[in-house]
Amino acid sequence: MEIKVAHTENPKKNMLTLFYQFRELGLLFFIILLCIGVQMRNPSFLTGENILDLATNTSILVILSLGMMIVLITRGIDLSIGAVIALSGMLTAQLVAANPSINPLLCLLFGTIIGSVCGIVIGLLIARVGLLPIIATLALMNIFRGLTFLVSDGEWVSSYQMSKGFVALAGGSFLGINHLIWVAVFFCLVFFYFLNYTRTGRQIYAVGSNPQSAAVSGIKQSRILLLVYTIMGGLSGLCGVLWVSKFASAQGDTASGYELTVIAACILGGVSIAGGSGKLGGVLLGAILLGILNNALPLLNVSPFWQNGIQGFIILLAVIVNSIVKRRVDRTHSLRRAG
C-alpha cells in the first residue's frame, strides 16, 4: 500500500538532470578549456601575477553580480547600477577631496549609504507603486547619471585630491592579496550564508519561484523586493567607492553601461531571468568567465573590434544552450510524471 513513487532509476535521464543541476560544472569545464587555450597562446596568462590581476579586476564584477543575482531571482532587473556606482563614487570622492583626513572606512560606509538610498527609491517604486523593474530602473538610471553630472559640475576628482588611505582601500593588499579580492571573498561568504542559511535568503527564492505561493505562505513579497533592491543599491554604492579608489579618479561617466556586463555574468552563471533559480557558484563562475575574457582578449592580441561580437555571441550561445538543456530536462520530467 505504498504510493507509487515514479522515481524509476533511468541512468540516462538522471545524467541529464545531474548535468542540469550542476550546470556550473559545464561552465567550469568551459573556463578550464578557455584557460588552456589562452595559456598555449600566451604563457604569461597562468602566472601568479596575472591570476591576481585578473582576480582584482574581476572583484567588483563579482560583488555586483551577487546583488544582481538576488534581483534576478525575484524576477526583477536593475539597469541603474552603473549610474549608482558613478553617483556614489563621485560623492565619496568629493567628500575625500574636501576632508583628506577622513577615515577611508567611513568613505565606504558613506558610499554604501548613498547606494542604499538609491536602492530604496527603486525598491519603493517597484514594490509599493508596482512599476515594472525594467522601466523604473531605466528611468532612475537616467536620473542618477544626470545627478552625478550635476554634483560634479563636469569636473573629475583626481588622484592627488585623494588621501593615501583612500586610494589604499582598493589599491592596497593584505597577505599579498589585493583588498578587493578580500572584499569579494567576504561578500561571497556573506551571500552564501545569507542565501542558504537564513530564512530571508530562502524567501527571496520563494518569492521568485512562485509569488502566489509565497503570498499564501505569509511571505511579505513587497518587503523582500524592497530588501533586494536596497541590497543591490548598497552594493553598487560600495562598489562605486571601490571603483573610484581602484582607479584613483572619479568621473561622471564612470561605469557607464556596466549593468549589462553584470547581468551578462549572472545569465552566464545560470540565473534565470524568469526568477526563482540561481546559484552563487554559477554566478561566480559567470563573472570569472567574463573576467577571463576581459583579461585574455588583450593578451591574445584579439582585435578590439571583435571583442563586442565575441561577448554577445558567447552570451547568446550560453543562454540558448541553457534553455535547450532545460527543455530536455523538463520533457524528461513530464514523461516521468506520466510513467
Partner: protein, 334 residues
C-alpha cells in the same frame, strides 16, 4: 421552472453607446495634449526662437529620426515584450549600407535595400529566438543581440568611418518637400500607417489580443508566434529606416552611432500611454509623446540647458507617466 424560463426571454444587445462626455475626455491623450501645449507655451516663453514655423519645423528633424522606431516598439511593448537591441540594429544596418557603398562599390540604391534587409533580418533573428526559446525572455534575447549586432558592426567597419555618399542621399535627412521636412512627412506617413495597422486592421487587433491574453489568443486561432516574429521584424525594418535617415543626417557612419536609442524610444512609448504590462496603448498617444519629449528637449536646447539636466527630466517624466495611473488605482483601492 417558471423562473428558469425567464432567462430565456429574447434579449437584445445595444450596438451603439450613448454619448458620454466622460468617455470623450477621460483619455490619456487629452492629458498628453495638455502637456504638449504646456511644453509649447513653455518653449515660447523661455526662448524667442521657439514658436515660429521654421523653428518648430526644423526642430522636428532633431528628434524624429529615432522616433520612427517608436511605432513597432509600442507594438512590442503592447505584446508584453521589449526590444533593447534597436539601437544596435540601427548601427549595424547603417554600417552595412555604408560599407557596401564605399568598400564594395555597389550603387547607393542597392546599399539602401541592403540596409533595410539587414534591419529586417536583425529583427527576424530577435523574433525567432524569442518565439523558439520561450524560456528566454525578450529582455535576454535582445540584450544578447544588442551586444552582438553592434559587435558585428565593429567587425565590419573596425571603428573607421564610412561616408562620401552621393549628393541625393542627403535629401533623406535634410530635404524638404513643399517646405516640409521629408523626415516629418515620412514620420507622419508611418504614424498613419501604424495608426491604421494598430487600430483598424485585424493584425493590430491580434497584437492587442496577444498583449492581453496570449493563451486565449492562440486558442482563438491567432497565430501568436508568427505575429510576434513579424512585429520584431518590423522593429528591425524601422530601425533600418532610422539608420537611413540618421546616416543621411551625418553624411557618414560609424559602428558607435545610435547608442542608447532604445532608452529614449521606450521612454516615448511609455509616456505615450503604452502599458508596459501589455495590452494597452494608442498610436495617437505615442505620437503626441514623441513631440512632447522632442520639443521639450528642443526648447531646453534653445535656452542652452545643460544636457545632463535633460537626462533627469526624461527620467522623471517616464516614472511619473507610468506611476500616476498606478498611484491613482492605489488610492482608489484604499
Amino acid at each position: 421552472m417558471e423562473q428558469e424560463k425567464q432567462t430565456y426571454q429574447p434579449r437584445t444587445l445595444e450596438t451603439q453607446l450613448p454619448f458620454s462626455w466622460k468617455r470623450l475626455f477621460f483619455q490619456w491623450e487629452w492629458m498628453l495634449l495638455l502637456i504638449l501645449v504646456a511644453v509649447l507655451l513653455f518653449g515660447s516663453y523661455v526662448s524667442p526662437y521657439f514658436l515660429n514655423y521654421p523653428s518648430l519645423r526644423d526642430g522636428t528633424m532633431v528628434f524624429l529620426d529615432k522616433a520612427i522606431i517608436v511605432f513597432p516598439m509600442a507594438m512590442i511593448m503592447i505584446m508584453r515584450d521589449i526590444d533593447i537591441s534597436v539601437g544596435s540594429t540601427v548601427a549595424l544596418s547603417s554600417v552595412v549600407m555604408a560599407s557596401l557603398y564605399t568598400t564594395a562599390g555597389l550603387p547607393m540604391e542597392v546599399a539602401i535595400v541592403a540596409c533595410l534587409v539587414t534591419g529586417a533580418v536583425c529583427g527576424l533573428i530577435n523574433g525567432l529566438l524569442i518565439v523558439k526559446f520561450k524560456e528566454l525572455s525578450a529582455v535576454i534575447v535582445t540584450l544578447g543581440t544588442m551586444i552582438l549586432y553592434r559587435g558585428i558592426a565593429y567587425i565590419i567597419l573596425e571603428d573607421q568611418a564610412a561616408g562620401g555618399f552621393p549628393e541625393w542621399f542627403g535629401f533623406f535627412g535634410w530635404g524638404y518637400v513643399f517646405g516640409i521636412p521629408f523626415l516629418l512627412i515620412v514620420f507622419a506617413a508611418l504614424a498613419i500607417v501604424f495608426g491604421i495597422l494598430m487600430h483598424q486592421t485585424t493584425f493590430g487587433r491580434k497584437v492587442f489580443a496577444i498583449g492581453n491574453n496570449p493563451t486565449a489568443s492562440r486558442f482563438s486561432g491567432v497565430r501568436v508566434d508568427r505575429i510576434k516574429v513579424i512585429v520584431f521584424m518590423l522593429a528591425g525594418l524601422l530601425a533600418a529606416i532610422t539608420a537611413i535617415f540618421l546616416t543621411s543626417r551625418m553624411g557618414s557612419t560609424r559602428p558607435n552611432i545610435a547608442t542608447m536609442y532604445e532608452l529614449d524610444i521606450i521612454a516615448m512609448a511609455a509616456l505615450g500611454g503604452v502599458s508596459t504590462a501589455g495590452g494597452k496603448g494608442r498610436i495617437l498617444g505615442v505620437v503626441i509623446a514623441v513631440f512632447i519629449i522632442g520639443y521639450l528637449q528642443y526648447g531646453l536646447g534653445l535656452i542652452n540647458m545643460p544636457s545632463q539636466l535633460f537626462l533627469i527630466i526624461v527620467g522623471a517624466l517616464l516614472i511619473l507617466s507610468v506611476a500616476i495611473p498606478k498611484l491613482g488605482s492605489m488610492i482608489k483601492r484604499k
